[in-house]
Structures are given as structure tokens and as C-alpha cells.
């Protein structure tokens, strides 16, 4: 590497230039492949799993040339991937011509804005978004609507002023209630519990937590259960791990943990199963069967809940089509057909419910693959 300084200086710029050239080529290659994998990916994989999106267009020829773009909270998240798989399948079935998935690699509040702006400029007809922050995306969505786009929020709602409909997994209250029910069952109806959530400003988690708190306070069956803390693992393995440890040390009498996020419940499951708390402290919440399977099999977790994520994206596609075709306006009482899943009605506040949550346990977990 070392040459005499003066001789080196002569070659220096040439080498530097070729280096920059090399880096630029690398970057272009990476960018090209990257966009290949994130946009317009064929809709086969995720949707085939649950059979919701298998295939052929069902004669919606009146809405040709429509384009739909999904903007998830974060790309490369396994849960999101199942949702998007169902979404792409649904969009193909509903007859969309242009189907794309774009989004940030980190789930921060402002990271989605530039993607929304790009869709506005491209004149996309339907934007389906899971908001990282209900208000941060507002102005960008408003611009898109002014440009004629229909906005379907799914998974995590935006401020209702900025979207036409919100596709909710399930009734938020049902999700909260089932988690309370599960934890109550697992700790024998009495004792201290804590919640390990995602980020402190995640819309959906906060709504569930609010309902969990209300239910614990109001239902006499849960009078002996005390919610001692709510902590945030930021949907990060390492942070969730340390938060779980902190909870168990700070509350030695803790009987159970509810983690209403797939990353949090899996990280906590991993920690519990490798520590002396295994079997001593109950864990439930919302998890992916594939990720939770080992913890159910080794006895760390007895039961947890989730909906079928693929259906979420699937219904969002049909809602988007109905909006773009002018069949519905997003007002309460509007109805549309969501392909194989049948008719859905827009409820109060422009909310469309996909279905009831499913409880997974040792008996049924092997029937699910997502």
C-alpha cells in the first residue's frame, strides 16, 4: 500500500477516480436490483398460502388501467410481507393494472412521506398505506387526494381526515379483549401483568392498550389483575429483550406479559425460554405462528392471537377498487364485495373490519404457515 509520497500523489487521483467509479457502479447495481425486488413483484407467494388471492381476474373490466400502490410501515418485515402478499394477490384479482409496493426500510414517522409524494407525482389511483404516524403522513396524503388519488389506510390508521377508508384487521376492541382473556386464563385470574409494546407512538398498539386498560379497570372478572407497567421495545429485538429483562427485575412478582406486537412477543419468548423465568411468567399477545412455534412447543407460551394478515391486504385491494370505480365513497353503510371473502360494510368512521382474531395454541399452530 505504501509508496513514496510523491510518486503516490501522481497515481492518487487516478486511483481515487476509479474507486469512485467502482462505488457508483456498485450503488447502481444495488439500486437496480433493489427496485426489482420492491416494486411490481409478482403477486404469487404470500397470497397462495391462505388461498385468498389465488389467481384469476373476475371480470371487473369496467375499471381498466387502474394503478394501486402499497406503502407498508416498513419493508422486509415478515408480518408486513404476508399482508402485502395478500394485497398483491387481491389487487391482481380485483383487476388493477399497475401493482406496486414501495416503502421505507425503517419504521420512523416521517420516512413514508417521500414515497407518498412520488406516488402523487406518478398519478397512482389508489394508495394503500399503513401509517407509522397518524399525522406525519397527513399533508402528503392530502396532496395525493387533491390529485385524485383514493387513500386506503390499512393495518395502522392515519388521522381519519386524510383517508377514505381504514381496513382494520379486526375490531380493535376484540383484539384487546382476547389478549386480556388469554392472559387472565394463563395467570389464573390474579396477579401483576405488564405490556411490552412496539414504539410509544404506534397507532394500533396504543389503541389496543387503551382498550386493555379500560377492560381491566371495568370488568369485575379482572379485579385481581394489576397492570403495573407498559414499556416499549420499539419493534427491535435487542431493545425488546432488555425491556423484558427490566420488567422481570423491576417487578419480581410479575405473573404475565402481554406483547401486542409480533417482534416484541418473539423477542420476549426467546428471552423467557432461555432464562430461569421460563414457565414461571406467562406470555401472550399478537404473534406470527411460524415465529412463535418453538416457544409454544417448549412450553414458554401456551396461547397467543392474531388475524390472518393476508386477508388485510386482500380486502384493502377490493376497497381501493370500489373507491376508484366510484362504487363507494367511504361513507358509513357503503358496501362492496371483497372477492372470495364476500361482502364488507363500511362502518362508523370509515372503518372496514376484516374478520375475527384467531387464537393459536399447541393444538392448532401447525395448521398455519405464515
Amino acid at each position: 500500500m505504501k509508496s513514496s509520497t510523491r510518486a503516490g500523489e501522481a497515481n492518487h487521483w487516478r486511483r481515487l477516480t476509479s474507486l469512485i467509479g467502482l462505488l457508483a457502479v456498485l450503488a447502481l447495481v444495488a439500486a437496480a436490483c433493489g427496485s426489482d425486488s420492491t416494486t411490481a413483484e409478482p403477486a404469487s407467494d404470500g397470497s397462495a398460502e391462505d388461498g385468498a388471492g389465488s389467481g384469476d381476474s373476475d371480470g371487473t373490466s369496467d375499471v381498466n388501467d387502474l394503478s394501486i400502490t402499497y406503502i407498508p410501515k416498513q419493508l422486509n418485515n415478515p408480518y408486513t410481507n404476508v399482508v402485502l402478499g395478500g394485497g398483491e394477490g387481491g389487487a391482481a384479482e380485483a383487476g388493477f393494472e399497475g401493482i406496486a409496493v414501495v416503502g421505507p426500510l425503517d419504521a420512523s414517522a416521517s420516512s413514508q412521506v417521500s414515497f407518498i409524494n412520488a406516488e402523487t407525482q406518478a398519478g397512482t389511483d389508489v394508495i394503500v398505506i399503513a401509517a407509522n404516524d397518524p399525522d406525519a403522513v397527513g399533508p402528503a396524503l392530502q396532496e395525493a387526494r387533491d390529485g385524485g388519488a383514493k387513500i386506503v389506510a390499512f393495518d395502522s390508521d392515519t388521522n381519519p381526515d386524510f383517508r377514505d377508508v381504514f381496513i382494520s384487521q379486526v375490531v380493535a376492541k376484540d383484539v384487546a379483549l382476547i389478549q386480556v382473556e388469554l392472559i387472565a386464563e394463563q395467570i389464573g385470574g390474579a396477579g401483576q401483568i405488564a405490556i411490552l409494546s412496539a414504539t410509544a407512538n404506534a397507532t394500533n398498539q396504543n389503541e389496543w392498550i387503551k382498550f386493555i386498560e379500560e377492560e381491566l379497570a371495568s370488568n369485575p372478572d379482572y379485579a385481581d389483575i394489576e397492570l403495573v407497567a407498559t414499556v416499549y421495545g420499539d419493534d427491535d429485538d435487542t431493545k425488546s429483550f432488555q425491556e423484558a429483562q427490566g420488567l422481570l427485575q423491576a417487578y419480581p412478582d410479575l405473573k404475565g406479559i402481554i406483547s401486542p406486537t409480533t417482534v416484541g412477543i418473539a423477542a420476549t419468548g426467546r428471552y423467557l425460554s432461555t432464562s430461569e423465568y421460563k414457565g414461571q411468567v406467562a406470555l401472550t399477545g399478537l404473534g406470527l405462528p411460524n415465529e412463535m412455534r418453538p416457544f409454544v412447543k417448549d412450553g414458554t407460551v401456551t396461547a397467543f392471537a392474531l388475524w390472518d394478515p393476508a386477508q388485510l391486504g386482500y380486502v384493502a385491494a377490493y376497497a381501493g377498487r370500489a373507491l376508484a370505480a366510484g362504487e363507494i365513497s367511504g361513507a358509513e353503510g357503503d358496501t362492496f364485495t371483497a372477492g372470495e371473502l364476500g361482502e364488507r360494510t363500511v362502518g362508523e368512521g370509515g372503518i372496514v373490519i376484516v374478520g375475527p382474531p384467531t387464537v393459536f395454541n399447541a393444538g392448532n399452530i401447525d395448521n398455519y404457515d405464515f
Binding site: M1, K2, T5, H12, R15, L16, L19, L23, L26, A27, A30, A31, C33, G34, S37, Q74, L75, N76, N77, P78, T80, N81, L105, D106, A200, A229, V231, Y232, D237, T238, F241, Q242, E243, Q245, G246, L247, Q249, A250, P252, V263, A266, A267, G269, R270, T274, S275, E276, Y277, N290, E291, R293, P294
Partner: protein, 352 residues
């Protein structure tokens, strides 16, 4: 001679040999060692937390503290080698991500692969990525800050491309591999003992070998080191390669300890690691500090997180406290440097 003089005054007493061992000098040396403030802070933190919650030092508590620190210790040790040579490697979070995912991939595609082989292959993969950084830095002679900021994104980009939405879970890896980061010997986790061994080896290398001393000389004054005949390019390249190797090792351990490895694994950890090194007394402009200090710095930062969650202190304070510690470390470094300069001036005046 100047490079050596500066580096030997800067490198603190812990590793120095051959002066009169009176009690006074020993105590003085301990109190003025670069590692003293961070060690004192760590001890104080642990004692304070323990006083408030005895579970903090229970068997499980100690095990958790050590396990939490292990991966960051390895990364901080590697980073401090690079920083001592007046460089920095911001790409290690991305190297950790790539190597952790490589570990998951190896086990999924070759279920019968021996665990030691995974350690070797993945560590070498890390070393290769580190060597690429080293090559770019030494060939282009552009500040490492810029080069490694670039490779941070390039490596992360490849990770996203390679992993896509795929994640590998603990279930995909052999139980014996996962047990590595669970099992203990005399209450100490196996991987923590391994990390301590790495600290001892690297400390010996930095303190007692020609190559290690050269890195201090380069960090103190690169031009002087070059004039003095130190092969600067080769040494800096070595520093980056070793750092990559340790990041690769950390990647394997990450896969052993945590549930999932995927496209976002290790995202953002580089700043924690640089912070650990700086808090541990490694001067950000190179030339001084020790890997032992960096390791204690890593221990301190991960312990703060555990301590504050155990004490139920708001998350916000955690970040604020880390920030204050960094500023304190930089201030302390500045004071030490000014004192050393004054001392040098007086000794030069005597000679001249």
C-alpha cells in the same frame, strides 16, 4: 523520535512496565489511568442499582448483564483498534447484519454443518468486509468517516437485497448453537468468557507488539509515523480487517443469542459502539486509549440501559445520560491532553 514519545506518554500506565513500584505511584497510576473514570462509573452504577433492587445482581441478573454486554464489547474492542489509528468504522452495524444473516443462512442450507465451521466462515466473511473498508481507506486516502459511511449503506443494501423479507429464527438453528449464549461456567456465560479472551488477546497485541504500537504512533501523528518508517497503509488495513473479523464474530453470537436475523439486524448499532469506545477513554482523534477501556465502556452503556429499566426510569433519560457521559469523556480527554502537552513542553525546555 517524537511519535514514540507522544504515544508512550499518552498510553496510560496500565500497560507500562519497569518503573519503581511504590504504593504511592501505584495508587496515582490507578487514579490517573484512562480507564479509571469509566470503571468507577460502572461500579457506582451497579452498586446504586443493586441497593435499590437486589434482583439486579441475582444469578439471572448477572447473567443478563454480561450477555447484554458481550456483543457490544466485541464490537467496541474492534472499533477502538480502528479509532486508535485515527480512523473510524461506521459500517460495523451493517457488517453485523450481513454476518448474522450469513450465520442463519449457513445453518438453514447446511443443517449438519459443525458449529465451529460456522464461526470460522462467518468471522472470515466479516474480516473480508472489514478488509474492503481498509482497502478503500488506504487506497483512496479519503477520511474513513466518509468511506465507511458509504459502505454502511452499501453493505446494508446488499443485506436488504439478500435477505429481502426472509428472517431466520432461533428455531432454524441447532439447539447447541443457541445454548452457547445461554449456558454458563461458574455463573459466567460461555460467550462472555470468549469475549474476555478476545479482549486480553487484543490488549496484548496493542500494548506489547510492534504492530500494535505502530497503530498508536499512526494515530498520534500519521505524517511522523510515515517519516519514521511505519508502514501506515498496511497497519491501517490490518486494523480494519481485524475490526471486521470481530464484527463477524459478533454477528455469529447475535444469531446465537437473539431470535431473529434478517435485513434490519444490527441497524444503528455503530453509534452505540463508537460511544462505548469514547466513553471508555479511547480518544476520537486517535493515538490514545485502550481496548480494555473500550470494553468497560461497552459494559457501562449496556448496563445503564438495564439499570434504568430496572429502576423504572423513563427511556428519555437513558439517552440523555449516555449523551452526558460522552461529553464528560471528551472533556476528560481534552484535560488530559492539555496536561500532557504542558508536561512535554516543560521536559523539552529542560532538554533544550
Amino acid at each position: 523520535m517524537s511519535a514514540q514519545e507522544i504515544s508512550s506518554t499518552d498510553i496510560e500506565a496500565v500497560l507500562a512496565t519497569g518503573s519503581r513500584p511504590t504504593l504511592m505511584t501505584a495508587v496515582k497510576r490507578l487514579l490517573t489511568a484512562r480507564e479509571f473514570p469509566v470503571t468507577a462509573a460502572l461500579v457506582a452504577l451497579v452498586l446504586f442499582t443493586y441497593a435499590n433492587n437486589q434482583l439486579f445482581l441475582s444469578r439471572q441478573g448477572v447473567k443478563d448483564l454480561l450477555l447484554n454486554a458481550t456483543i457490544v464489547i466485541l464490537l467496541a474492542v474492534g472499533q477502538s483498534i480502528v479509532i486508535i489509528s485515527r480512523n473510524v468504522d461506521l459500517s460495523i452495524g451493517s457488517i453485523l447484519g450481513l454476518t448474522a444473516f450469513a450465520t442463519g443462512t449457513l445453518f438453514v442450507n447446511n443443517p449438519d454443518i459443525p458449529i465451529w465451521a460456522v464461526f470460522v466462515i462467518v468471522s472470515l466473511f466479516g474480516a473480508l468486509l472489514g478488509a474492503l473498508n481498509g482497502l478503500l481507506v488506504t487506497v483512496a486516502r479519503v477520511p474513513a468517516l466518509v468511506i465507511t459511511l458509504g459502505t454502511l449503506y452499501v453493505f446494508r443494501g446488499f443485506n436488504n437485497l439478500w435477505a429481502g423479507p426472509t428472517q431466520y429464527f432461533a428455531d432454524d438453528r441447532p439447539d447447541a448453537f443457541g445454548d452457547l449464549s445461554v449456558d454458563t461456567v461458574f455463573g459466567l456465560p460461555i460467550i462472555t468468557l470468549g469475549a474476555l479472551l478476545v479482549v486480553v488477546i487484543v490488549a496484548g497485541f496493542m500494548g506489547r507488539t510492534r504492530r500494535g504500537r505502530d497503530l498508536y504512533a499512526i494515530g498520534s501523528d500519521p505524517t511522523a509515523a510515515l517519516l519514521f518508517g511505519v508502514p501506515v497503509g498496511r497497519r491501517v488495513f490490518l486494523a480494519f480487517a481485524v475490526n471486521g473479523l470481530l464484527a463477524g464474530l459478533a454477528g455469529v453470537l447475535y444469531a446465537s443469542r437473539f431470535n431473529s436475523v434478517g435485513a434490519t439486524t444490527g441497524n444503528g448499532i455503530e453509534l452505540d459502539v463508537v460511544a462505548a469506545a469514547v466513553v471508555g477513554g479511547v480518544a476520537i482523534f486517535g493515538g490514545s486509549g485502550t481496548v480494555v477501556g473500550a470494553a468497560i465502556g461497552a459494559m457501562l452503556l449496556t448496563t445503564i440501559t438495564s439499570s434504568l429499566t430496572t429502576l423504572r426510569v423513563d427511556k428519555f433519560w437513558q439517552q440523555a445520560i449516555v449523551g452526558v457521559l460522552i461529553l464528560a469523556a471528551i472533556a476528560a480527554d481534552r484535560i488530559v491532553k492539555l496536561r500532557a502537552e504542558r508536561r512535554l513542553q516543560t521536559s523539552e525546555a529542560h532538554h533544550g
